[in-house]
Symmetry: C2
Subunit: 212 residues, 2 copies
């Protein structure tokens, strides 16, 4: 095993450090967030920080950086309160990743990729055509994270659209049947295959302790 | 596409709802958090909510439920300030998942699984033997999430231990070379293979817009 101490990390060059730290928490979700500005300009950006917060109410969160540079997603959500989350199918990996480029607010990423916007009735923000799992989200609250000056945005799920072949009898969404991506670090992508599901776990009886 | 509205979700039976909502954000990290109580009793629990918050300072976060039921991990972190994060190798999937069973505080999960504790000098909390990627963490701050009464725990990376074969030249940790798991929903596990890495993306010139 290689050991990196805190001082090793602190003295590391910038690129090596961000690659290492961004890959060390494990696999991340791959999601395109769709928003629209008050001026009607669509925005689409890839995020790897969307996370489950609770199922009742159905809440997701994501982290965003300060607003000192261009952060169209955050400012659009703050002004309109609504956005979409679209999962990344393996066929759109390169275009999805390209949305990480820092385009100006007057530019729609849909105009510089092969991704196509999908407008659904009663949703102002664009979805992504052919995304196998789409969510419409509503802003709930935010937290300023003091430790590194980021923002945690919490939102609730208003609508869930999912390719029927991914749904199992008990409601489980089999992401691998939708060929959905996961992110490793800043720029690595995998399309996992489901290996196994386990049952709900209960404590073993105390008598079993000596057998292990 | 199947459409679930908010009222569909609200009227759904409990198991179906938690399966659906827990799988809809995408792939999640699979990590065993190791802690030790003030009484010296080890605890190990699987988490799927560990997330990258920033690389400088190197911060990770995770969400935990209220302390009204048994939450040994949270109470141990609050009292000792230190814990470990251990990635789940494919060979320990079943035992890793079993740590989700609600054992009492006086029980160590190491005694009821084949997982073995690894003690490193200057770290009180146990690591997991043969985990290909291990982190020692220090509590930084926490946030009470009003929307659903959960807690966001933020901690910093003090030490990073990684199997050398997973590290690429630019610092990227290739998780698939470590046969590291990702979680789908509450109970699904995959061992992804890396498909591709992309370059850092910059905006395309405006002239390209008409060619797409």
């Amino acid at each position: 095993m290689i050991h990196y101490s805190e001082s090793d990390l602190d003295s590391m060059d910038y690129v090596r450090r961000i690659n290492l730290i961004n890959s060390c928490s494990g696999y991340k979700s791959a999601n395109l967030i769709g928003t629209v500005s008050d001026d009607g300009i669509d925005n689409l950006a890839i995020f790897s920080s969307i996370i489950h917060i609770g199922s009742n109410p159905a809440l997701l969160g994501f982290f965003t950086r300060p607003t000192s540079v261009i952060r169209n997603t955050y400012s659009n959500i703050k002004s309109t309160k609504y956005f979409t989350i679209n999962h990344v199918h393996e066929s759109i990996l390169a275009d999805a990743h390209h949305t990480s480029a820092k385009y100006k607010p007057e530019i729609s990423e849909f105009d510089f990729t092969n991704l196509e916007p999908e407008y659904k009735p009663q949703h102002a923000a664009p979805f992504v055509v052919n995304s196998p799992l789409q969510l419409s989200m509503e802003f709930v609250e935010e937290y300023d994270i003091v430790a590194n000056n980021t923002i945690l945005v919490i939102s609730k799920i208003n609508d869930l659209y999912v390719d029927g072949k991914m749904i199992e009898k008990d409601g489980f969404i089999n992401l691998s049947r939708g060929k959905i991506a996961t992110i490793n670090g800043l720029d690595g992508y995998s399309i996992p295959k489901l290996k196994t599901r386990f049952n709900y776990q209960r404590p073993k009886p105390l008598s079993i302790k000596n057998d292990i």
